[in-house]
Symmetry: C4
């Protein structure tokens, strides 16, 4: 085995053009990895409060009950990041090429997604404070708004595949706003229903998302049967 | 090098159909990443208890002995997530297509897997409490049940490759229940053998899994030689 | 299903040559994963300071204000690792083969990138200390310098694709120095503007990077139109 | 867009055989992800000791000096996991197929690699205790021994590509023992040179690895020129 044989790589002399696939896949891969890490890191903020040295069964049950808000926050943020990843997955199937600006916008989106574990920890521990509820809603909405905007940029810059219709491009963006609409809309009710009420309203994300999905499906089916 | 040349991507004008592979691979990849992160995060819950400022050798040895339950929990949860990943790996080789519901079920499974580090930390630190033993068994079983259910949904919805026989589909699901059967079954013995006894029973996961694997192999070999 | 049928893999008997693609992709993949984990771990160092047992709204707001330096550090380090990943992504599109030395240099680069969460935590918590400012600038610059050096090694060792011109190789390396130039340059002003002043100067990374990108684009466009 | 069109996947009706590549790649990918996460998690155990509320510059410098053993441990464990990953990368280029036992052995190896952050934290904080030095050497050696054993199992079970000679198989295994040999060998000198002396001896990993690499290269070159 010669030294030559020990260098591994692509066939020599190939032009950069054939590397396009790898470049595109790396971008997707890097995005998936950041989503996956952010969503899995959420759990390390769920932990028992400090316990006495030899806790009784009652101490343990009380401590477990005290972690329920953190578990609620875990479920909520997991579902949200999951929905955001799903949107990313769905949209990038329609993106044909990238330029450096799209890569930059995607990095901004990833930075907002990777930030989510912090407000999640906050709301799990101090969710009865108005300031914390507002920060959580704003932080998760920021990531939720950056996703559709990135998609609209890609589409308007001609980076999407040509068969994407203007209607589909717009509907696909709208479908991504379920989380921000619920989170930001709920803040209007903060003076009336209080922090716990607002947090319960966030469970509306699921039905609103389903509704928006149906709407998009309906509009696009209308078209294809027309 | 023109601006055009600086945008990287797939050949222009290709229809969404050829992107299917990438979409499928991203889903698999995202799942693998969540499994890998959850399994590797387990170790950050293994840590020495608080020590005096200048600990003696005896202090250190005592502290190390105090981490043994956490290390036992690490081994148990690592093996469990490893088995769950192995099942996922084995089953998805037989899945040909996905729809959005299957993607949603898979996200639910990932959410249950990513939750495992929390009960693992619990049982490592407070494993002599009945409530903690029950929570651990329930949490790990939830993920263990969601896996086969996802597979059965995929198979019944015609998303599996056509060569999968009804018998194989069912056996493959049954094979996935080794962990939940042992974990939930052991809870019946809790009043008799106590928390430590139940935790030792969990070591039965390995032989039960081997047994189920042999059973599946036997039944499918019978068929192919028939 | 026979034993043979249960072993999965590549078609038998193929020589190592066709595995090159997988070997190359694993290296890229491993690098992307380390970048992605390091960039996403940054957030776990952003946390509220210790609070009294039943904090008032004022306590919470004060605590949130106290985390602002940590959030600033998060943004800065996220952008920096993002830029480093972007450079890695851009350069490795032009690398055709690897030898073990290049793999080693790449590991060194990854070790420096994976180190970044530590100085980021430092500067978020103790950013008003000269020693901490210096350590942050040195640590992030080390990773920023290792990137272009790895690229220059690859190019000089003939591991780049042949169409890379000497000018492009050099410009691509220079473009990678935006972060180290700003970070190290800012230290000269430490006696004049103090730690806060220096940290604000770090926001210059963005315009300096844009400037360098334009410079590279200009020089390479000159050539292609000549 | 019909329901049919919204299900994404592989072309229907394809037999499981063509999925082999994906199955193989998932295994490699999962392994890479665990290595990458374990290696990047090491840094979260490097942190400043507790500081007074308004620390002086001298407090900070003393605290930074106190983290030097943790940084030494980071470098050592990063290099070790890096070498283990490199061996995995090198060996799996020669593996053609997998069976479930090889997958199981690989999981065992990953479990030992994912464990490394714990002894790394230990040695960084309490590296002047004999018990901690022994645990670190044993834990890192366990992962270092599991790697070559996995490779030997694969080769003896006929899962390697056929062109791998018995000599190369053995040399490749030997090359993987550099870390265990140095770590375990150093323990013999513990009574003479003490914990600090032993830890400094661990720097011998680098030259021993280089030596073993040369030896393997020499022996295989002899053959090919014979």
């Amino acid at each position: 085995m010669t030294r030559q044989a020990r260098s591994y790589g692509r066939p020599e002399g190939e032009p950069p053009d054939i590397d396009h696939d790898l470049g595109f896949e790396r971008l997707i891969f890097f995005s998936d990895a950041v989503f996956a890490i952010a969503i899995t890191l959420l759990i390390i903020e769920v932990r028992l409060p400090a316990l006495p040295d030899h806790p009784t069964d009652a101490d343990i049950v009380a401590a477990l009950r005290a972690t329920l808000p953190s578990i609620f926050a875990y479920v909520l943020s997991f579902a949200t990041i999951g929905l955001y990843w799903l949107s990313h997955w769905r949209r990038w199937r329609f993106i044909a090429r990238v330029n450096e600006r799209l890569v930059g916008l995607n990095l901004l989106l990833l930075g907002l997604v990777a930030f989510i574990p912090f407000p999640t920890a906050l709301i799990g521990e101090q969710g009865d404070h108005v300031s914390v509820v507002i920060i959580y809603a704003l932080a998760l909405s920021a990531a939720g708004i950056a996703g559709p905007l990135t998609w609209l940029y890609a589409w308007r810059s001609g980076l999407a595949i040509p068969t994407v219709s203007p209607l589909y491009a717009r509907l696909s963006a709208i479908r991504g706003f379920a989380v921000p609409v619920v989170l930001l809309g709920s803040l209007l009710f903060l003076p009336v229903v209080g922090t716990t009420g607002v947090e319960l309203m966030w469970l509306l994300i699921a039905p609103v998302q389903v509704l928006l999905n149906r709407l998009v499906r309906l509009r696009t089916t209308d078209l294809s049967s027309a």
